[in-house]
């Protein structure tokens, strides 16, 4: 079939996009917004979508203003942006490894972030910013270690993943050793954090998390086209004039930065990065990994997962990571169903 393309050419920067991709993105974002409105209206104080929207545009009752703007909005904003960051990060890693399973959760980033948290919790203390810094340093150090260990005349996708598994194994052991060393209460708290959770986030995190993620997104929007070329394979990309190793480093940096900000804010949330790009690609029917739909899908997955985590087992609030694991499970079940159909 021929694909409808729309092209805008403002000078040297040519943007080509498919109508279907735009429609998919719009639908995903609309669903995410709807989920956000529902989420803003759910809780001890129940508000109708109309009341929520009124509060958002500054026309709400004082109580609605307090509940929606002061209490619930930051968490919803963070869920949307962190979800988008996870989806984008997963898309980058999957494009770089040219493998649907090449996501940051697979190459040990989450485990490393958790190691950082445990180290900080045990040796420094559990102030929020300390813990966030620990997660960031742990995740980045892990990613760097995996990259360096996998580097032999360039980084080959499969080698990166196997080294990731090995480093992951060491870190899981280290983490479990820590969990055994510290007392049950601390271990339990750390385990909750290690699952990834948006519980307890408020306006204090918004001013640095949201702008950081937005800046990284803009950076990707400017340079995203080379990623598609990298996906074609090193030889072809080189032939098309891409400096492959340099481009890979830049994308890897962006991907790590995105997942690092997300992890620092909310802990290692599993499987959104893995599933979002693939689901989005299935919807858009595009050949390669598309960035914008992956971001929209990530935002949708996380806002819905967080709503479930908060309200499905009320009054117990689950870490959102427990719900996203289920998303991962459902995603694999869907892959398996597709396999058995084709065989």
């Amino acid at each position: 079939m021929t694909l409808p393309f729309a092209a805008i050419r403002p000078g040297p920067l040519s943007v080509r996009f498919r109508v279907r991709t735009v429609v998919v993105c719009a639908v995903l974002l609309a669903l995410a917004f709807a989920a956000a409105v529902v989420s803003l209206g759910t809780g001890d104080v129940v508000l109708s979508p109309k009341e929520v929207l009124a509060a958002l545009v500054g026309q709400g009752s004082p109580i609605a203003d307090l509940v929606v703007i002061d209490l619930r909005l930051p968490r919803v904003l963070l869920a949307l942006t962190i979800g988008a960051a996870l989806g984008l990060s997963g898309a980058i890693f999957q494009a770089l490894t040219r493998n649907p399973l090449g996501s940051p959760d697979v190459i040990g980033f989450n485990t490393g972030a958790f190691t950082g948290v445990l180290v900080v919790t045990v040796f420094v203390g559990n102030a929020y910013f300390m813990v966030a810094a620990g997660a960031l340093v742990g995740g980045l150090a892990t990613a760097l270690a995996v990259y360096l260990l996998a580097y032999r005349r360039g980084v080959q996708g499969f080698r990166l993943i196997i080294v990731g598994i090995a480093v992951n194994a060491i870190l899981i052991s280290v983490n479990q050793w820590f969990v055994i060393k510290v007392d049950l209460q601390a271990a339990y708290a750390a385990t909750i954090w290690g699952q990834g959770s948006l519980n307890g986030l408020d306006w204090t995190q918004v001013p640095w998390v949201v702008p950081l993620i937005v800046v990284l997104m803009i950076g990707l929007a400017i340079g995203g086209s080379r990623l598609l070329l990298l996906e074609l394979g090193d030889e072809i990309a080189t032939g098309l004039g891409v400096r492959v190793e340099a481009a890979r480093m830049v994308y890897l940096g962006l991907g790590v930065a995105l997942i690092a900000v997300a992890t620092a804010a909310a802990g290692p949330i599993a499987f959104v990065a893995l599933a979002a790009p693939q689901l989005a690609q299935r919807l858009t029917g595009s050949a390669g990994i598309a960035l914008a739909p992956a971001a929209a899908m990530g935002a949708l997955l996380l806002i819905v997962s967080d709503w479930v985590a908060q309200h499905a087992f009320a009054p117990t609030q689950l870490p959102v990571g427990v719900v996203t694991v289920t998303v991962g499970g459902v995603y694999f079940a869907w892959v398996l169903a597709r396999v058995s159909r084709t065989q």
């Binding site: 196997i162 080294v163 598994i165 060491i170 055994i180 699952q195 499970g329 058995s340």
Partner: protein, 349 residues
Amino acid sequence: MTTLVDRPSPETEPTAAANLRRGGVLLGAAALLVVVCVLSLLLGTRTVSPGTAWDALFHYTSTDDQSVVRDLRVPRTVLGLLAGVAFAVCGAVIQAVTRNPLADTQILGINSGAALFVVIAIGFLGLTSFTSYVWFAFLGVAVALVGVYLLGSASRGSPTPVQLTLAGVALGAVLEGASSAVQLIRPRAFDYLRFWDVGSLAGRGLDIAGAVAPFILVGTLLAVAVARSLNAVALGDDLARALGVDITRTRIVALVAIVLLAGGGTAAVGPIWFLGLVVPHLARWVVGTDQRWILAFTILGGPIVLLIADIVGRLVVRPGELRVGIVTAFIGAPVLIWWIRTRKVVSGP
């Protein structure tokens, strides 16, 4: 598509001489295993003399030192022997049947499957006796095996090593996540499982060893029974058929062996990382590529490596202990990194 090139070891030695050498290696390994078992009885936070250990076994007078040997270290050593055989033999069989040198119960997500089902049995069904939850471990292994195979064959008919490995990692991650979720929902189970799911030989009695021994024995015997056929399978399906090997039957027997070994081992001592990866590689390096020699070597080598790891774990952070699953991960992970760095990974059609 990516394939791995594993350099075939040149079988240049004349057969008789080679077999003599391999027999020597096995004798040496058996002697080493005896030494390691003795050390496992003597060494630890409280190191005892050989005489005390002897008395603990044969002239028991219930002194503190004797009871440490008799009540703690004997069960531990016996469990180490059993689990070492289970995981190492299981690894050798998986590697042979999948023709995947990277296959291991941990990498393929099989340990995680067994662990999740055990966690569910303990956390939700309240089962606490080993004989009741071991069946869940077998079920978990079977489910994980089917899952990893289907996931691995997502792209084309029969899964390549790379596909299978990645599928296993992903599936293992989901299963582990689910285990953590169950533990968070059931904090009481969490405290009990915290120690179990690292993989440890400590804190378990001879009753567990006795309960798991039959399963591991049967699994090992099945592995030995199909060793010859697995040699043929290694040459590829077509060639194996031409040699008159019933591939389907071989695979089914091998799978039953894997379920019994991985399920029994995981239920008894928790997941032990990478033992099934490292020991068969060591075996191929020492005795060559014949599955029968490899099995003979892994039956001895598995417990040697596991017990050494256990002793190391007892000694490095005295008076505390590093669990054996942690020590084997530390030993295995560098081997895995070295392996992948020294292999040519070719992209082909």
